[in-house]
């Protein structure tokens, strides 16, 4: 590459890790939050199912 042209584009290589890092880290932060939420939701849903089952059983017993 022409020396002057190389100088004109010299910021690309230096800045690339920062720019790509920013994109990746934002997605990682959002992804971690979503994964934690979905796991927690799954666990809470199984608690709800267990409680419903227990209530249904008690209601049947009391009838």
């Amino acid at each position: 590459m022409d020396e002057i042209l190389a100088y004109a584009y010299s910021d690309v290589i230096v800045a690339a890790p920062y720019v790509i890092g920013a994109y990746v880290l934002i997605w990682v932060a959002l992804l971690i939050f979503v994964i934690i939420m979905l796991n927690s939701s799954k666990k809470t849903q199984s608690d709800i199912d267990a409680l419903r089952e227990a209530i249904e059983r008690r209601e049947k017993e009391q009838k």
């Binding site: 910021d11 920013a22 959002l30 209530i55």
Partner: protein, 263 residues
């Protein structure tokens, strides 16, 4: 089937509907932001910096480059939408907080809290991407300039909101105090947004013109980024709200079970 169980199954149906909507919003948001990233990297022009090249460089097509090109500016297509969405979420939290103070409903408090939680995630995203840009362009990780300082204050206010919530036990008091605090925190959002225009000495980059001055090649990914991030935020907000509602349902089912045990 008892009323408590019937209510629980009805809630589950509504939740199923909202989960589907949230997932669709997340997927659409992901598509739009991916489009934003691809366009920003491969189609959007690299803007010129202040550094003048002497003699100018000439590309094969005859295009003359007179200034060094600023690749780091491409962070703008992602950092700015994330920051705008963080402001939107904090303002939305304040709107729900006002509604809570007017109607005293638990639902508005829950929504206000959820907006704050999702807002904090977007604030962290803004801080990380902004810091990386600051490190490259200004050579330091942090500068106490007006935009960064007011945004840092906003971050501290949002963290303080959660500290306040954990410090108060009584639910109604907690909701009322938190609502007032959410409104106070939201005052900083427009200040942080507009500070670069209010204080001209600020070194933070700012769009000077009302019409943005961006070429379509820059405007299209930027707008896609904003709408994409808004959809992602909406999807996460709905999922978070569903989780909070599930937890409330667990409490009400536990109460029903205890009631049955006592009978």
């Amino acid at each position: 089937m008892s009323n408590a169980l019937e209510h629980s199954y009805n809630l589950a149906q509504t939740r199923q509907k909202w989960t589907t909507i949230a997932v669709i919003a997340l997927i659409l948001g992901l598509v739009l932001t991916t489009f934003d990233v691809i366009w920003a990297f491969f189609r959007a022009p690299i803007v010129a910096s202040d550094v003048v090249i002497d003699p100018p460089a000439v590309l094969e097509g005859g295009t003359v480059i007179t200034n060094q090109l600023l690749f780091s500016q491409k962070i703008f297509y992602f950092h700015v939408p994330v920051a705008i969405v963080s402001f939107v979420l904090i303002i939305a939290a304040a709107v729900y907080a006002v509604l809570h103070l007017m109607h005293h409903s638990a639902e508005t408090d829950l929504r206000s809290k959820t907006c704050m939680e999702v807002g904090l995630v977007f604030i962290i995203g803004t801080m990380i991407s902004g810091d990386l840009w600051t490190r490259h362009d200004w050579g330091v990780w942090w500068v106490w300039e007006p935009r960064l300082t007011t945004y840092f204050i906003l971050t501290l206010l949002v963290i303080a909101y959660f500290v306040l919530r954990t410090a108060i036990d009584e639910p109604e008091r907690k909701a009322r105090f938190s609502a007032v605090f959410a409104i106070i925190a939201a005052i900083d959002a427009p200040i942080s947004f507009g500070i670069t225009r209010l204080i001209p000495s600020s070194i933070h980059p700012v769009l000077e013109r009302g019409d943005s001055g961006m070429s379509p090649d820059m405007l299209i990914p930027f707008v896609c980024g904003i709408f994409g991030m808004l959809l992602v935020a909406f999807g996460i907000f709905r999922l978070r709200l569903l989780l909070q509602e599930q937890k409330l349902e667990v409490e009400s089912l536990k109460a029903r079970l205890e009631e049955l045990d006592r009978q």
